[in-house]
């Protein structure tokens, strides 16, 4: 076959995990593009044969980046398997754990992962525009952002019972005595978050708008329509409980269903060039590309139901459209969610129900359990088949990055088509593709975390012959 393939390879941290390829035909036009994920396999297999009770503990250890999300999805799945509903106090504490994690993760994503793009712009030298660079550019803002991250983490530690891997969310609720002392401590942290977040949100928004001013193409070339998918509760976007909703690329609600029905609405497709399967929403006989995560959630419903978040969401829509498909607005969507998490956490800690009973007794009679949570990067679903002895017989985990996979690949195509093809600037090629992938903040293997200026290698191939190799070295 007479075509040229350009492969972009992250060569260090995530070696063996990911590679970007661009197939270019003889006429110079892009024929295909994608992220090849050498997905870490085996988690689902190691769960089989374990006691169901252990799922929240063991699955939290799958990923060092989002342990709380797996912990919560697992305990929600066990509730459904046992046919119990966690008491209101447990639901509030679970939501608090989820929000603490969201705050911690979103602050890192905005200020650390996307920070260099926002502060230094897209054309800057990656050696200068790294994480330490943005800290030095505005140390006071950086301190506030890191403090906010720490506070989110602390809430997670207190509610989750342990720093790294949370342990308290179990089948039937929360296995922790939540007393006045703990409540006061968390309330103090939330007040501090409430003070920090508006300032951080304004700073992040200003940086984003400046970036868009400098690069008007972000609102033209980087607009990638798709369906959106995520969690709604009482008609509003939510992070925990509720049902799953898909809206189309015009913002119309197409379907909404309980978690357990996900396998009737989402279809996986194997592709021969990657271990990661593509996922699409099936509706009315068609299968539809979709995305999850912050940019999906802002498009799911009229809003989040808290004042500052919904006010900012109105401003996002004014600038980015409704539904918004501009991928650079992922950062703006995170700002909206940071405001929401701050406001919602305040509501939760002041809800008198939080001091009630946190656990109901549970026995497994055998059957299926499905649970989900909105992880910072998008919907996470855990699905277990449990036998009458309480042993897991099969497990299926649908993670956010897998669901964003089709959109990530479209973004790479778009980046290549408008920023790379026909131009000989290697740095531009690296920057554009890295930026596109970074907007999704992908967690490529649930073990490693692609972040910052990913060290890349580009291999230009014709058939099997390597024509040239481009590396960005430090």
């Amino acid at each position: 076959m007479n075509s040229k393939t350009i492969t972009i390879d992250p060569v260090t941290r995530i070696e063996g995990h990911a590679r970007v390829f661009l197939n270019i035909g003889d006429d110079g036009a892009l024929t295909s593009a994608g992220l090849v994920v050498n997905e870490l396999r085996g988690f689902e297999r190691i769960l089989v044969g374990m006691e169901a009770d252990r799922m929240p503990l063991i699955t939290a250890r799958i990923c060092g980046v989002c342990p709380a999300a797996h912990h919560l999805a697992a305990s929600q799945a066990l509730d459904s398997a046992a046919g119990v509903k966690a008491p209101p106090a447990a639901e509030l504490l679970r939501e608090l754990l989820c929000l603490g994690h969201l705050i911690h993760s979103h602050v890192l994503s905005i200020f650390v992962l996307e920070g260099p793009d926002l502060v230094f712009g897209l054309d800057s030298d990656p050696l200068e525009s790294n994480v330490a660079g943005i800290v030095k550019a505005n140390p006071e803002l950086a301190k506030k952002a890191l403090r906010c991250r720490t506070l989110g983490q602390k809430i997670g530690e207190l509610v989750g019972g342990r720093g790294i891997h949370p342990v308290t969310s179990v089948a039937g609720g929360i296995s922790m005595v939540f007393d006045h002392e703990k409540k006061q401590q968390i309330a103090a942290w939330i007040l501090e978050i409430n003070e920090l977040v508006p300032e951080l949100a304004t700073a992040a928004k200003d940086l984003l708008l400046r970036l868009i001013d400098q690069h008007p193409s972000l609102m033209k070339d980087w607009v990638i329509p798709s369906w959106h998918f995520g969690t709604v509760k009482n008609g509003k976007t939510a992070m925990l409980n509720g049902s799953l909703r898909a809206v189309d690329d015009r913002g119309q609600v197409k379907t909404e269903f309980p978690t357990a029905d996900y396998d009737r609405h989402l279809v996986e497709k194997v592709v021969d060039w990657s271990y990661m399967k593509e996922v699409r929403v099936v509706h009315g006989g068609t299968s539809n590309d979709y995305r999850v995560g912050p940019l999906a959630r802002v498009n799911l419903s009229e809003g989040y139901g808290t004042e500052a978040a919904d006010f900012e969401l109105a401003s996002l829509r004014k600038l980015g459209g409704n539904p918004c498909h501009a991928i650079v607005f992922q950062a703006y969507a995170r700002v909206v969610e940071l405001l929401y998490a701050s406001e919602r956490a305040f509501q939760i800690i002041n809800d008198p129900d939080i001091l009630g009973e946190t656990r109901v007794p549970v026995t497994f009679k055998g059957g299926r359990g499905v649970g989900h949570v909105e992880a910072p990067r998008g919907t996470l679903i855990h699905d277990y088949e449990i036998d009458e002895n309480g042993i897991v017989r099969s497990a299926n985990l649908i993670v956010a990055t897998q669901q964003n996979y089709v959109s990530i690949n479209h973004t790479i195509e778009k980046a290549a088509a408008s920023h790379v093809l026909g131009k000989s600037d290697d740095a531009m090629l690296l920057n554009a593709i890295e930026f596109g992938i970074r907007c999704y903040d992908p967690c490529l293997s649930c073990a490693t975390h692609a972040m910052g200026a990913m060290p890349m290698e580009i291999v230009v191939k014709r058939g099997r012959d390597i024509l040239r190799t481009i590396r960005r070295n430090g």
Binding site: H17, I46, G64, N130, S445, H449
Partner: protein, 168 residues
């Protein structure tokens, strides 16, 4: 430049050694940090040593510093391109820089984290920061696929760590 006298007074208050082991105990060579953590915890630690574990490195590391640490030692699986099982014991400023990005398999790299710490919280930073990096090869399979050379290197890393306890 800080005043020398002031600097030595500040340093005198710092008496602790903090060992932070990083890794994912479910994943092949990534479990090495956890392995070292477990063995150190089992064999007991001198009074001036504090031991912590982190699932991923990055900024969470800064939260563990109290300002009383004289030495920070980070134990992690690395991919520096040496043979599997090679133990790299490097002061943080000699950790190879890879395009301004991370060098370990976790989150933000140690070098950047330390740079951030020194820019924002100089008073909290220990005068001595050392990476004990154990060269791994397999990061995309489960724990049972740990590279034998990497696994065997845990003891070598522990020897270095114990020596450091004795001499500090």
């Amino acid at each position: 430049m800080p005043d020398m006298h002031q600097n030595s007074v500040e340093t005198a208050k710092k008496t602790m050694i903090l060992v932070v082991c990083v890794g994912n105990d479910l994943i092949a060579d990534d479990a090495l940090g956890f392995e070292v953590y477990k063995r150190l915890e089992t064999e007991g630690l001198p009074g001036h040593v504090r031991l912590e574990f982190l699932g991923v490195g990055g900024l969470a590391l800064l939260d563990l510093l109290t300002g009383n640490e004289r030495v920070l030692m980070v134990v992690d699986a690395v991919q520096f391109g040496a043979a599997a099982g090679t133990v790299h014991c490097l002061p943080w400023d000699r950790i190879p820089s890879l395009g301004g990005s991370a060098i370990s398999v976790h989150d933000i790299g140690l070098k950047e984290t330390i740079e951030i710490g020194q820019a924002l919280y100089p008073e909290k930073m220990p005068p001595s920061i050392i990476l004990v990096g154990i060269e791994g090869r397999c990061f995309n399979r489960m724990r049972e696929a740990m590279t034998p050379e990497t696994e065997a290197a845990a003891e070598k890393a522990l020897e270095f760590i114990r020596n450091l306890f004795r001499n500090n």
